[in-house]
Amino acid sequence: MARVELESVSKSFADTTVLSGINLDIADGEFLTLVGPSGCGKSTLIRIIAGLEPQTSGQIRINGEPVDHLRPHERRVAMVFQSYALYPHMSVFANMALPLTMQRLSLWERVPLLRLFSARRRRVMPEIRREVQSVAAQLQIEPLLNRRPAQLSGGQRQRVALGRAMVRHPNAFLMDEPLSNLDAKLRVHMRSELTELHQRLKTTFIYVTHDQVEAMTMSDRVAMMDAGRILQLGTPAELYARPSNLKVAQFIGSPAINVLPVRIGDGGMVELPGSPAMIHTSLPPGSAASIGLRPEALHLLPSGSPRDGAVLNARLRRIENLGAECMLHFDLLALPGHGVIVRAASIKGLSVGEEVVLGYDIASIHLFDAKGERAEVLPISAHPAQREAATP
C-alpha cells in the first residue's frame, strides 16, 4: 500500500538522455500504466522506481519518504519481469519462498549445511511454507511447487513470477511487460486475472506495456510516453476522447485513428478535404496541420441524403469482417494516396470498388498542429464574419 511520487526524474546514459523531467503522482492502490513505443524509456523508468538503476536527477518518494538512497529491497517493491526472471536451478517453492527467507532469516541461517543447526530456521520455515502455499493456492499453482521453472509452461512461469512478487506483500507491484511473452489467448485471460488481482489486493500497480489494449482495459490511469517524456497522463477514456498529441491519438485505439492532412486558411479557417464544411481554429494561417477521425466517427451516408455537412468521397478498397463488426478500408477520392478505416456494424451490401459518401460530425474532429500538439476546434458560429468571408 503506497503512494509513489516521482519528481522531475531524469536519466542519461553517457551522453544520451533517456528520460527527461518525469513527474508522476501515483495514488495508493492505483493501477497506473506506462505505455509507449519501443525505446521510449518505460523499462528504464520502472527500473529507476525499483532502485535497480540510479536516476541522474530528480527524486522518488514512496509514502512521502524519499527512497533514492535505499537499495532495491529496502524500497519494498516487487517486480515482475517480461522474462519472468525465475531462478532456474531452484524449485518453484524455493523461488517463491526466497524473498521471505531473505527477510526473515539471518545470513548464517541461510548457509547450506550450517543452517541445519538453526532452531529458529526450523520454526520460521513452516510459517514461510504456509504463506507460500496460500499464495500458490490463490494463483492455482499449488501442484507445481516442486517443479523447476524449466518444467513449466509460459503461463505457469508467469504465475510463479507473480507469486514470488505477492508473497512479501510489497508496497507496490512493478510489472515490465509481464504478458508479452504469452500467446494471444492466454494474454487476454491473464489480463483479466491481473485486473482481478489488483482489485483484491488493493496495492499500487505500476505496469509497463506497449500494448494499448492492455493499457486501456486494465488501468485507472495511463501515462503515454514518447522519447523519454510523458506526453499525456489521464484515464483511458480521457486519452481516447481528448488525446493531447497526435502520437497519443495514433497509439491509443484500434484500428488506429484516421489522420488526414489539412491546411490552415485565412483567418484560421480549416478546409476539410473534399467537403464544403469548415472548422475554425486559432492556429496561424498558412501552417500545415492534421485532423484525426476515429473509425467509429465516420459513417456511410445513404445515397441521396443532403451533403452539406462534413463528408468524404471514398472508394471501398477492402473489407475486414470481424464477425460482430467489420472494418471498411476506403481510398479517399479528394486526397489521393490517403485512406480511412471505418468501423461499421455490417457490410451493408457494399462491394469492393464501390464509391460512397462518408459523413462525420464536426465535433468528432481532433485537430493537431504541425508539431502534433492538440489544437482546439472553435465553433464557427462564434465568428460569423469569417464564416461569410470563407463560404462563397
Binding site: 525499483a50 535497480l52 532495491p72 529491497h73 522474462s83 526472471a85 525465475l86 531462478y87 541461510r110
Partner: protein
C-alpha cells in the same frame, strides 16, 4: 545423389577424425602395452603391440612396492584440489564483477587479466623461487600451489560465461534482498556448472601433469607430485625397467582419465558454451 554425396563426406570426415584420434592415442596405448611387457620384449627389434609373455603383474607390483606411488598420488590430490578450490573461490567473484557490475576501471582490469593470460609461469619463476626460498617455504605444499592460486584463465573463462547470464534474474535477486556475494554463490555460480567443470578439468590436468614447477621448488621425494615422483623413481630404483615405469605412469594417469570420464558431459558443454577451444 546428394544423399550419397553426404554419406561420402561423412565417411571422409570421420576417417580424418579417427586417424587423428588414433595418432593421439598411440603413445597412451603404447604406455599401456609396455606396462605389461617383460623387459626383454620392451627393447626387442620387432615391433609388436601385445607382449608374447604377460608380465603385467610383475611390473605393477614392482612399481607399487618400489615407488611410493600412493604418496605421489596423495600429494597430487592435495596440490590439485588446493589450487582448484582457491582458484574458484577467487575467480568466481572476480569474473562476476567483471561481467556484471559497473565500476570505474573495469575495462582496465579486464585488460590486465588478458595480459596475465599471456604470461607463462616461466617468466616469474625466478623471483617466485627466490621469494619462496627467502620465506623458507621450499618443499612445502604451499610452494607448489602459490603461483597458481590466482588464475587469469579462470577469470576469463567464467567472465565469458557470466556475461550471458540474464540480467533480469540478477536484478530479481537484488529486489528479493540478496547482496552481491549471495547472488554470486547462490544464483549465478550454480548455473555456471558446465563452465566450472570445464575449468576444473583444465586446471586439475594441468597441475597434476606439471613437472616444471615441482622440479623447481621440491627436492624432497616425499613432497613430490606424480610426474616429479615418476622422474625420481626412474632415476633411483628402476634404472631402465621401462615396464615398471610404464605401470607407474598408467596408475598415475588413471585418476585423470576417470575424472574426465565423469565430467565429460559438463566439460564439453562448458567448452562449447564459453567458446574456448
Amino acid at each position: 545423389m546428394p544423399c550419397l554425396q553426404r554419406a561420402i563426406t561423412r565417411v571422409l570426415i570421420h576417417g580424418v577424425l579417427m586417424a587423428g584420434a588414433a595418432f593421439m592415442l598411440l603413445p597412451f596405448v603404447w604406455m599401456l602395452a609396455t606396462s605389461i611387457k617383460p623387459p626383454e620384449e620392451v627393447f626387442s627389434a620387432t615391433l609388436r603391440l601385445l607382449p608374447t609373455r604377460f608380465f603385467g603383474a610383475e611390473n605393477y607390483s614392482f612399481a607399487l612396492t618400489q615407488a611410493p606411488l600412493l604418496r605421489f598420488a596423495i600429494n597430487g590430490v592435495i596440490v590439485c584440489l588446493g589450487i582448484l578450490v582457491v582458484q574458484l573461490l577467487v575467480a568466481i567473484p572476480c569474473a562476476y564483477a567483471l561481467a556484471k557490475l559497473r565500476f570505474p576501471g573495469r575495462n582496465l582490469l579486464f585488460v590486465l587479466v588478458l595480459l596475465a593470460l599471456a604470461i607463462p609461469v616461466q617468466v616469474p619463476a625466478l623471483p617466485l623461487y627466490i621469494a619462496l626460498a627467502e620465506m623458507e617455504l621450499l618443499n612445502t605444499y604451499l610452494s607448489l600451489m602459490l603461483p597458481f592460486l590466482f588464475s587469469a584463465f579462470a577469470v576469463f573463462l567464467l567472465r565469458q560465461f557470466f556475461k550471458s547470464y540474464p540480467d533480469d534474474i540478477i536484478q530479481a535477486a537484488r529486489l528479493d534482498g540478496m547482496g552481491e556475494m549471495e547472488i554470486v554463490w547462490r544464483i549465478v555460480a550454480p548455473s555456471a556448472w558446465p563452465a566450472i567443470a570445464a575449468f576444473s578439468v583444465f586446471s586439475v590436468v594441468a597441475h597434476w601433469n606439471d613437472l616444471y614447477w615441482p622440479l623447481i621448488v621440491i627436492t624432497d621425494g616425499g613432497m613430490a607430485t606424480p610426474p616429479l615422483g615418476m622422474m625420481l623413481f626412474a632415476d633411483a630404483e628402476t634404472g631402465s625397467n621401462y615396464g615398471a615405469l610404464m605401470a607407474a605412469a598408467t596408475m598415475l594417469t588413471a585418476p585423470l582419465v576417470v575424472i574426465f570420464l565423469f565430467a565429460r558431459r559438463w566439460f564439453i558443454a562448458g567448452v562449447t558454451m564459453t567458446g574456448v577451444k
